[in-house]
Symmetry: C2
Subunit: 293 residues, 2 copies
């Protein structure tokens, strides 16, 4: 199915927004690309890099006459940005976002959409250790998954367009209820990231004599475990604030399992420990097989 | 400094023991290599692979006339194995182990050494995702670190020999007090591994509707985080039982930090969350720099 977007506005020109613009341009699926950002410098760099054609620092001005508006700002900025941009949106425009939390955001965005403008919640699951428009590249989404979160208010045409856009980048698109999305991501992404941050905090608070050795002998476990603790602090703060309920539930479950594990170590219950470790290994192997399939 | 071992006995012929034998053979630093294992099949495979010259399934018999005895069994088997082998040990022999826990093991091994036989506790920090003598290779220890844990009872000559042996494999050798070793490893290796196991357990106990999605959408965070949860369950059970105190202390500290994190998420304290995430990222970057240095 072919599509062509005459004018696309990308609000929040970082890794995700920049890579989406590059991917669509490379396939000649978009005419003009307008960038909107708070900081003028990254907009100027984006023009120099050929990622966008022109820019505005004002969301309302930047979205004028855009057929598609993609909001790829940090999570907490999505709703206020869309609210500010709303008066400038063209009747018939489709608006989507790229936030890693969906429940509250989708509900709030739907509420501020002007008459005749459709919103579709989106979450491209992609990224690198680098951020910023300079780090963007056209193939970022190839082989990735994108979750779209339509609701009873989502127009079928709008969902279809956003689906085609992400598929054109090489991503596989699936749909999910917004709150269900938040639970799944709390489990697979938010909990692991927060536990990685937490373990680094625990280690950095150790007494000096142990800590210096800890840092020198950081074993492979520590490296693997903490790789994901080097992500953007602002993004993770926002995720914690926006996906509060699902994250609290996952932390609560993890904390209960931790207490059980602690008791088994305390009691020297080798059989029960062996069983937990065997099951976890089997589960992990199964998960990775499913992930590959 | 040159050394030559006329006869070396390796008890527990898996990845570590097999790789050590291969490394020393390749450099012609050892004459005869005798293997001791509970299972005859892996001994026969080890002969076929050229890792050992001959074998015994009886530790006391296997260590006769050996200049160096290396015990590379699972952690819990080290002390009983050395106790069984002790009557066969030659006066002047040096005994070392490769266990990832040292405090209790070193004390117990020193207690069972016959007159004129010296023990040196050791921990080569190396491994792969594979196990067994078939997975062993001569360069496993190149670029690794080995911690030796001499005590006031350790003979200087014995420490020197074991140091030379591990250095000959390409490992960098450092010495550490046995209990200090256990604290450092509890922090850098045992805690991260146990938290990885715990998170997999938490996710596998989720309700079916969420769990199936969790498995399909296992994000990169989950993969990185759980890579270390696929290690050998027996090894981790033994580590929990043998390094109980240090592990309980680390779990306790981690649990307190987790409670703080939970409260900050619950209260929506974005500033404090941002600060924790920023500090953890900075700490991790620092650790990896030190690790590389």
């Amino acid at each position: 199915m072919a599509f062509y977007i005459k004018r696309m506005t990308v609000i929040g020109l970082g890794l995700i927004g920049g890579s989406l613009a590059r991917a669509l341009r490379r396939k000649a699926l978009v005419g003009e690309v307008v960038g909107v950002n708070r900081h003028r410098e990254s907009l100027e760099r984006a023009v120099a890099l050929g990622v966008i054609d022109r820019f505005s620092t004002d969301p309302e001005d930047g979205v004028r006459d855009a057929d598609l508006v993609v909001v790829a700002t940090p999570v907490r900025a999505i709703v206020p940005t869309i609210a500010r941009a709303a008066p400038g949106m063209m009747r018939g425009a489709v608006v989507t976002d790229a936030g890693s939390v969906k429940g509250r955001i989708v509900a709030a965005c739907e509420a501020v959409m002007p008459q005749g403008v459709d919103f579709v919640g989106g979450h491209p699951i992609a990224g690198t250790e680098h951020s910023g428009v300079e780090a963007s590249f056209a193939t970022l989404f190839e082989g990735s998954r994108t979750i779209l979160t339509p609701t009873e208010h989502t127009a079928k045409d709008a969902l279809e367009l956003v689906t085609l856009v992400w598929e054109a980048t090489g991503s596989t698109v699936e749909t999910m209820d917004p709150l269900h999305h938040d639970k799944v991501l709390a489990a697979t992404s938010h909990l692991p990231h927060l536990m990685a941050y937490n373990i680094v905090k625990t280690l950095s608070d150790l007494e000096n004599d142990v800590q210096s050795e800890v840092f020198r002998f950081a074993a492979s476990g520590f490296r693997d475990f903490t790789r994901i603790a080097s992500s953007d602090p602002t993004m993770w703060r926002d995720i914690c604030l926006e996906n509060r309920e699902a994250i609290l539930e996952m932390i609560g479950r993890f904390g209960q399992d931790l207490q059980t594990l602690r008791d088994l170590v305390h009691d020297g219950n080798g059989d029960a420990l062996h069983q937990i470790f065997s099951q976890s290994r089997a589960t992990r192997d199964r998960v990775l097989k499913i992930g590959k399939g």
